[in-house]
Subunit: 231 residues, 2 copies
DNA sequence: CCGCATATTATGGGATACCATAATATCAGC
DNA sequence: GCTGATATTATGGTATCCCATAATATGCGG
């Protein structure tokens, strides 16, 4: 039930402090204002967000449930650390869920979906050209949201959106690697082409290739970071 | 890092009130003490749980993030309702994630996994025979946890566990339907056989069949419930 | 200088209070 | 009996407070 379903509905004029604070905190974590492993001291967050401890504690519970925050007994909350193994698992889950969404879009044969995906991909290319990397991430999210929502999979989208937040630091790195500005959009074009052709299997595989490539790049970057520690 | 990894570690003697309350609330929702759509009035929950509103509010945030509770603006929290469409999406997600876990177990060729699965399945059969349906649900959860944990997929298990909680009311119904006490375990036996044979594809498909059958039964039950409303 | 004991501070756990507003109840007029 | 106005209650939003305990700082003796 959306606004278009209920055009008469009176819309709420504003969000609660808690909702606003949650958005701020989530953005701060995903965009690495707070780094993995960093302590989140309740009183400090009160000062930074300008709200009471009640709000901060409720926000921390929400983020804990999302996996973005971990509570250390007798130490308090920290920004959750995603291990390379967890990152690998997250990429795998994304691969299969995104593949299914792409496949379903191919089965629909809806030219509007193709048009929308091409519009978004054009924006991704433009953002790469302008070196606006945050916009690249945001538009990539839009690309996949379009696949999920147009195939009626908002539960899966909720999952993908949530687990992707946990590896946003990796996404920030993978989009910067050499040639990713060409390979990434090319892979997404393949997804669009398969959807346009109504080829579900090709759409599924193209989506998987895109995610697997990102996973491979991320794994290499993590290995670099752990150079002295890994054999 | 577990107890066996760190045998010297001093274990925390107890959980916080919030953790205990969260478990109670989650169990009460999943086991339908609170029904879908039912209002969760904060002060009432304080009385029922014997804790302050701070605890109750934090618990509600956690459950909201898990999708078990929905907040209605100016109306407060209610037990989230899972629509038939959402249930369908949840079964689909489970199908692919459980399939992948089963396939990975088949690739491992670990006889201990097979033994553990057979032990759990024996318990499911015994619980059916004794008509202990809550035990059937619990053991089925153990069966799938075994698949995920033995294939190193705790992120996916977290997701499956969480979304399955949202359709526990349907699970309670599907396990009761005629012949499910035979078909369910038979389908799980097929999963085990495929894992024992090291046949990943067969394991994947067997897991899918098990979930798809459950989804079909749930869909029929939902249609029955909505009889007067659907053509 | 190091180790141990003690003091102090930081901070999470949990409770309570107050306010504003939406929801509900009540009453009066037609 | 219905409708509109008003009063009352319910309840979520938010802030503040207190306590206990873990962490950290400090001091003293060997």
């Amino acid at each position: 039930m959306s606004v278009s379903d209920q055009p008469m509905r009176v819309l709420r004029p504003e969000k609660t402090l808690r909702e606003l604070a949650l958005e701020k905190m989530r953005d701060a974590i995903v965009n690495m204002h707070f780094r993995a492993g960093e302590r989140l001291v309740e009183r400090d967050l009160c000062d930074q967000l300008g709200v009471s401890r009640t709000i901060v504690r409720e926000v921390l519970r929400h983020l804990e449930s999302e996996g973005l925050v971990a509570i250390q007994p007798n130490r308090g909350p920290i920004v959750a650390e995603t291990t390379p193994e967890e990152a690998r698992q997250i990429y795998e889950i994304r691969g299969v869920l995104e593949g299914i969404a792409a496949k379903a879009c191919a089965a629909q044969k809806d030219p509007r979906v193709v048009a929308e995906l091409e519009r978004i991909l054009g924006g991704i290319r433009a953002s790469y050209a302008a070196n606006e990397l945050p916009a690249v991430l945001s538009a990539t999210t839009d690309f996949y949201r379009t696949l999920f929502e147009n195939s009626g999979r908002h539960v899966a989208w909720g999952i993908v959106n949530s687990i992707t937040a946990r590896i946003n630091h990796l996404r920030s790195m993978t989009i910067k690697t050499p040639d990713r500005d060409k390979q990434g959009p090319a892979q997404m074009q393949k997804i669009i082409d398969a959807i346009k052709a109504g080829d579900g299997q090709a759409a599924y595989e193209a989506a998987n290739v895109h995610v697997k490539n990102a996973a491979t790049i991320a794994e290499a970057l993590l290995a670099e970071q752990q150079g002295p520690r890994s054999g």
